[in-house]
Amino acid sequence: MFCFMVEMERIVKANDREYNEKFQYVDNRIHTSKYSILTFLPINLFEQFQRVANAYFLCLLILQLIPEISSLTWFTTIVPLVLVITMTAVKDATDDYFRHKSDNQVNNRQSEVLIDSKLQNEKWMNVKVGDIIKLENNQFVAADLLLLSSSEPHGLCYVETAELDGETNLKVRHALSVTSELGADINRLARFDGIVVCEAPNNKLDKFMGILSWKDSKHSLNNEKIILRGCILRNTSWCFGMVIFAGPDTKLMQNSGKTKFKRTSIDRLMNALVLWIFGFLICLGIILAIGNSIWESQIGDQFRTFLFWNEGEKSSVFSGFLTFWSYIIILNTVVPISLYVSVEVIRLGHSYFINWDRKMYYSRKATPAEARTTTLNEELGQIEYIFSDKTGTLTQNIMTFKRCSINGRIYGEVPDDLDQKTEITQKKEPVDFSVKSQVDREFQFFDHNLMESIKMGDPKVHEFLRVLALCHTVMSEENSAGELIYQVQSPDEGALVTAARNFGFIFKSRTPETITIEELGTLVTYQLLAFLDFNNTRKRMSVIVRNPEGQIKLYSKGADTILFEKLHPSNEVLLSLTSDHLSEFAGEGLRTLAIAYRDLDDKYFKEWHKMLEDANAATEERDERIAGLYEEIERDLMLLGATAVEDKLQEGVIETVASLSLANIKIWVLTGDKQETAINIGYACNMLTDDMNDVFVIAGNNAVEVREELRKAKENLSGQNRNVSNGHVVCEKKQQLELDSIVEETVTGDYALIINGHSLAHALESDVKNDLLELACMCKTVVCCRVTPLQKAQVVELVKKYRNAVTLAIGDGANDVSMIKSAHIGVGISGQEGLQAVLASDYSFAQFRYLQRLLLVHGRWSYFRMCKFLCYFFYKNFAFTLVHFWFGFFCGFSAQIALDTSYWTFINHVFIWGSIAIYFSILFTMHSNGIFGIFPNQFPFVGNARHSLTQKCIWLVILLTTVASVLPVVVFKFLKVNLYPTLSDQIRRWQKAQKKARPPSSRRPRTRRSSSRRSGYAFAHQEGYGELITSGKNMRTKNPPPTSGLEKTHYNSTSWIENLCKKTTETVSSFSQDKTVKL
C-alpha cells in the first residue's frame, strides 16, 4: 500500500532498525478489519449505497421531496430506508468490531526481542524487520525468521507446520553453522550485523532464496533455515531468529486469500429480477403518462374550468411528464426494498435453525454447528462441488495399529462375527494391557490371540514385535511424570512403535550406536550397526543390529511390493498367504507394511560395512554406490508378516460421501499430504474403488509432460468410453461433436484423477487449465495431493469460474483458509486447536459427516423456503401495485391512489409475516379516531375499515374472490399429481403405502470390498532422521554415547548437513518422478 514500487529483492540488516527503515518495510502488525471509528460512517454508507436497491430508494426519496410530483408522503420511503441502512450498518460494525478484537489479540501477543543488547518483551505488532527474537518451546512464531541459533545441537530446531500446510509431523530446521555458534550469548547476538539479501515477499511456502553476508563471507540461505510465521516451535527449548518478513509480508499472510463478499445465486437472481421489474415499472409509468397526456387534452381541459386550475400554464405533455414521476413513486412498491430486509430476516432465521440443530451437535467436544455467515443458507442446497481437506477433516489424523499378519496368521480380527469383522464395537472387550507399567492407555486391540501367542513365546511373533520396536526413527523422551513419550516424525511409525510397546516390546531409548528396548520385562540393548534409511525409491527402511547374543540381524520394513521381491525363495508359501492377508487389509482401507528380517554372518557384514565406508568416503557417485550396497544387503530376507495401520477416518465419512455422491455432488480431495496417503484415504472413503474403470495419475515435472499426460488420460477416457458403449458409438460421436465445448457428462463408467502439486502448478497455467478442468469434471473423484494453500484456492477458483458451479470448501487448518475463502461456501471444522479455518469460514461444525445434514436438509429447506417466499413476495407486490395501475384508467391518470397505502411499507418491514391478524389490527388502528385526532392530514381514513367491513356485500366479494382464486390451483395440483406425478409424489405415495404395511427392516447387509489392490503405502515422512540418528546430531550431549565396539560411520558436521539438504531435494524430485507407480 505504502510503497508503490514493486519490491524486487529484500535487503535486511540484523539489529539495525535505522538501516532497514530506509526500505519502508511493513511492520509486524496485521489488519483484517475494514473500518476505523472515523472512517466507518462514510465508507459504510458509500458501500451500502452501492447496492442497487438502496441507491434506488435514495433516488425515490429525492423524487418524493419534490412537491409537484410527490404522490406519497416522504416518510413512507425514508423510514424503511433508514431502518435498512441502520440494520446493515450495525451488523457491519459488530462484524468489524470482532475483527478488530482478534487483530488486537494477535498483535498484542508478546515476544522477546533483542533491543539495545537486552532481551525485552515486545508486542508482536512492534516487531520490525531485522530484529532478533527469541522463541521458546511451544510458542507461535511471530514472523518469518531466519534461524540463527537454537538450544539443540548444531542449531537444529523442530517446528510444527500444521497451520501452514496441514502436515502435523515435525519438521527440522537448522541454522547456518556460523550463526549457530552464537548460541544464547546475548552480547554476541546483539553484535550480529549480517545482511540478508533475499527474494521479495511471496506466497511460496516451500521455497526461499537468499544470501547472508556476514564477516566478509557469504552464505546461501534456503528454506531449511527459515521458520515461518504460523509455525509452532516444538521439542526445542529456545531459538533465536532474525525477522526477514513481517506482518502482511509473511508467507502465511501472503497465502491467505482476500476476503470476498459472498453472494448467493438467489441474490443474483433477485438483482436481475429487480432490474427487470424496474424496467417494467418504467413501462407502466410511460403508459400512464401517455394516458394522462391524452386525458388532459381530451377531458381534463373541460374539467379544469370547473376545478379552476391555472389554465394554459400546464400543457398536457408537461402534465404527462409529471404524472410519469408521480406514478414511479406510487408504483415503487413493485421494486420492493423490504424484499432485501425480509430475505435477510428469513436467512437469519435459517441460520438459527442451523445453530439449534441437535443433529449437528458434537457432544464429545461440546460444539454445536454454527452459521457464521447468515446470508448463504439457500446456496447450501445448490452445491455441486465439494473441496475437502484430508487431514483433520476426512481423517482424524490418528493412526492406530489395527491388524497384523504374523507368520501366516491374522491377528486383530474379531473371530466370532464374520460380518462385523471391521466394526469393532465397544461391547467387545479390548485386550487388557494394564498389567504392564509402560503402556499407552489409549491403545486398544481386540484380539486376545496375539497376547496368548506372545505369552506362549512364539519366536516369530517375538521377532515381529522386535522389528517394530527396533526399526524406526522414533525418539523417546521421559516426561516429568516418568512416562515414556515418543517423538514421532510420522504418525504411522508412532502407531507401530506404540503397538509393540503395548505388547511388551518397549522401545526405551536410543543413542547413535545403541537401541535399548524392554523385551517382556527385561532390558535388552542392541548395537545399532547400520541404518538404511527410507527414501521414496527404496520405499523401505532397515536397521542392522547386533543383539546381546552377538548375532547380527537386519530388520526391514517397507512397502510390500518392494519387499516381496527381496525375499528368500523359501518364503513362497508364506508369501502367498501374507499376500492374501495384505489384500484383505488393503481392501479395508488399511495402510500396510511388510516386515522381514535377515540373519547376517559377521564376516559378510564386516566386508559390507567396509564397502559402505568406502562408498561414503567416495567423492564420485557416492549415492549410487551406497544405494547399490543397500540393495546388496537387503536381499534373501525372511518374511515375518505384515502390519495394517488404520488412518482413522472421522465418524461417518464413508456414509456421508456415499449420500453426497448420490445427490450428484462431486467431492474433490485437496491435501498437502503425500500422494500415497491421499490415495489410501481415497480408497478408505470409497471415493476410489477397484470397480473404477481407470485411475489417472498426473505427476509430470514440467508443463509439457503434464499436458501430455492430461491429453493421454483424456484420450484414454474417451477411447474406453467408446469401447464400453460399442453400440452407441455413432450417436455418441455426434453428441461429442455437438457438445465439444461443453464437457460431456455422458462419460460412462467411473474414473478418478490424481494429480500432485508440482503438476498442478503447471496444469493451472494458461492453456492447460481447460484440459485439466475437462478431465477432472469427467472423473468421479479427483484427488490433489501435495498442494499448497494457494493452489487449493486456485483449484476452487478454476471450477468456480469455468464450470459456473456452486462450490463448497471444507477444511480444518490454516492451510485451508484461502480455499475456504474463495469457495462459494466455506466450512470450517471446529473444536480443533487452530481457529483460523473456522474464523474464515461461513459455517462451522465439528464433524465432516454433518455436511450431509447441512447440505441435504438445511440447504434444501432453505432453498425451498426462499423460493416460496420470493414467489409470494413478488406476487403480493404485483397484486398490490397493479391495482393502482388499473385505477389510473378511472381517475384520469392523475396518480391518485386507490387504497391507502402509507402503512404498507411499515407492515412489510416490521411484520414480514404479514399475518392477517396484524393486518387487520393495523388497519383498525390506522382508521381509528385516535390516530386521526393526532395526524388528521396523514391519516384521513377514519372509519373506512369500520364502515366497509360491516357491509355484507364486502364479505361476499371476499369469499367469492377466495373461491375463484383457490379452486383453479386445486384443480391444477390435483391433475398434476394424478397425471404427471413427480418423484417426490411417488415417494410420498410409496411411503404412505409402506406405513400401512409393517415397518420395513432397515438393516442393509454391509458390502465388503474385496480388493486386488496392493497398498502402495510407504512411510509418510521424508528421509532424514536416519542420518540424524546415526550421526547423533540430534542427541542431547548430556547423555554421552557409550563407547561402541564397532567403528561408527563418521561424518563431519558440515558434510552431514550437506547430505541432508541434498537428500531433501532429492526426495522431492524422486517423488515427482515416480509417476509411473501403478496402484
Binding site: 374550468t305 379552476f308 440443530d357 378511472f890 396518480a895 355484507k952
Partner: protein
C-alpha cells in the same frame, strides 16, 4: 482424562420442536375423494348463493331520472358562470307504476365527474374540518385564500365544487293535490364522519366562530348558513356537506341525498302514482360533458340492485361443477387404466 464441561452452561441446543424444526406440519394431499367433495360442496354453495343474490337484487326497486337534458334551459344558464345568482328551477313529472316498499333512499348521481383526481382529492384540510384550527388552509391549493387574503372556509377544491341542487319530491295524489314527500336529511353520513372527522369549532354561535374567513368562491352562502334551522346540521356538520366531502372513487357515482320519512301516507313506502321532482338547478355539469340524475331506490340485505355479485357467484358455481365433473371423469379413466394394467 478429558475435562467435562460441567461448570459452564451446556452448549447443547434445546430440544424444542421449533428449534429442531419438528413442528407438526401438514401437507395437503389431493386425493380424489377429498378434492371432489370440496368441489361439489363449493359448487353447490356458490350456485345457491348466486341464486339468492340474484333474487334479492331483483326484488329491489330503483328509478333513475336523468335531468341534465330535461332541464336544458337551466343547464344552458349555468354554463355561463356569471349567471350564478339567477335562480332556475325545473319540475320533472314521472309515474310510479308500482309502489315501492320499505326504506326508500334518494340519491343524486353524477356522470363524468372526476372526484378522484389526485390534486382534487388532496385539496382539502382535515384539520380545518375537525374544527380545531379553521384557518389551517395549507393543503387546500388552489382554494386557500380569497383575493383579499382571508382564508376560505371550507377551503379546497372539493368543498368549492359541492353539489348544490335542491331536490324536492312531490306526490300528486290527484290533479290538484300535491303533497311533499317527507325526506329525512339526517343519518346520511358515516358515524365517524359526523362525530369524529367533522366538527364545528364551537356550538354557541357559528357565525362568530367563522369570523375572519370567507366562503368558497362557488358557494352562494357561507358554511354557517347551510342549515339555519338545525344547529346539528349546520356548519361542518351539515350532512350534505359531509357526504360530498367523501370523495368518490370513480367518475360515475351516486351520493345519498335523503331517506324517506315513513310517516302518515308513506308509512309503507312510496305508493304508486304520479310524482314530480322539483329541482333547483345550481350545479353545472354540461361544462365538462357530465350528466346528473336522481335515483330512488330500496335496499336489501346485500346492498343495492346490482346483479353482478349474484351472477358472479352463479357462474363460479357452474364452473366449479363443470370442473368437478371433468376431474371425476379423468380420475375414473385413470383408475380404470391402472386396474387394467394390474390385471394384465
Amino acid at each position: 482424562m478429558e475435562e467435562r464441561p460441567q461448570h459452564r452452561p451446556s452448549r447443547l441446543p434445546d430440544n424444542s420442536a421449533l428449534k429442531q424444526q419438528e413442528l407438526p406440519a401438514h401437507r395437503l394431499y389431493f386425493t380424489a375423494r377429498r378434492v371432489l367433495f370440496v368441489f361439489f360442496t363449493t359448487g353447490i354453495f356458490c350456485l345457491c348463493m348466486g341464486i339468492i343474490l340474484i333474487l334479492s337484487a331483483r326484488s329491489t326497486q330503483e328509478i333513475e331520472i336523468n335531468y341534465t337534458r330535461i332541464c336544458a334551459n337551466c343547464a344552458k344558464l349555468r354554463e355561463n358562470a356569471s349567471n350564478f345568482d339567477k335562480e332556475c328551477t325545473c319540475s320533472i313529472p314521472f309515474y310510479l307504476s308500482g309502489k315501492m316498499m320499505g326504506n326508500i333512499y334518494m340519491y343524486y348521481k353524477l356522470y363524468g365527474f372526476y372526484q378522484n383526481l389526485y390534486r382534487y382529492v388532496r385539496s382539502r384540510s382535515n384539520r380545518q374540518l375537525m374544527g380545531k384550527d379553521i384557518k389551517a388552509v395549507d393543503d387546500c391549493a388552489p382554494f386557500k385564500m380569497s383575493d383579499n387574503k382571508t382564508p376560505i372556509v371550507p377551503c379546497g377544491a372539493i368543498a368549492n365544487s359541492m353539489f348544490n341542487d335542491t331536490i324536492i319530491l312531490l306526490h300528486n295524489i290527484n290533479s290538484s293535490v300535491q303533497i311533499k314527500v317527507p325526506m329525512l336529511k339526517s343519518g346520511l353520513t358515516w358515524w365517524t364522519d359526523k362525530y369524529v372527522k367533522f366538527q364545528n369549532p364551537s356550538s354557541k354561535n357559528l357565525a362568530d366562530e367563522f369570523r375572519g374567513t370567507t366562503k368558497p368562491p362557488n358557494w352562494p352562502k357561507p358554511i354557517y348558513d347551510l342549515d339555519k334551522k338545525d344547529p346539528r346540521n349546520n356548519g361542518f356538520l351539515n350532512d350534505d356537506f359531509i357526504v360530498w366531502m367523501r370523495a368518490a372513487a370513480f367518475p360515475t357515482f351516486k351520493k345519498l341525498y335523503g331517506r324517506l320519512n315513513r310517516t302518515h301516507h308513506f308509512i309503507e313506502g312510496l305508493p304508486a302514482g304520479n310524482y314530480s321532482l322539483n329541482i333547483t338547478y345550481n350545479f353545472p355539469v354540461t361544462r365538462f360533458h357530465g350528466e346528473k340524475s336522481v335515483v330512488l331506490s330500496t335496499l336489501t340485505w346485500c346492498g343495492g340492485n346490482s346483479l353482478f355479485l349474484g351472477l358472479a357467484y352463479t357462474v363460479t358455481g357452474a364452473i366449479t361443477w363443470l370442473a368437478s365433473f371433468a376431474m371425476m371423469a379423468i380420475h375414473i379413466m385413470l383408475k380404470n387404466k391402472k386396474m387394467s394394467f394390474f390385471h394384465q
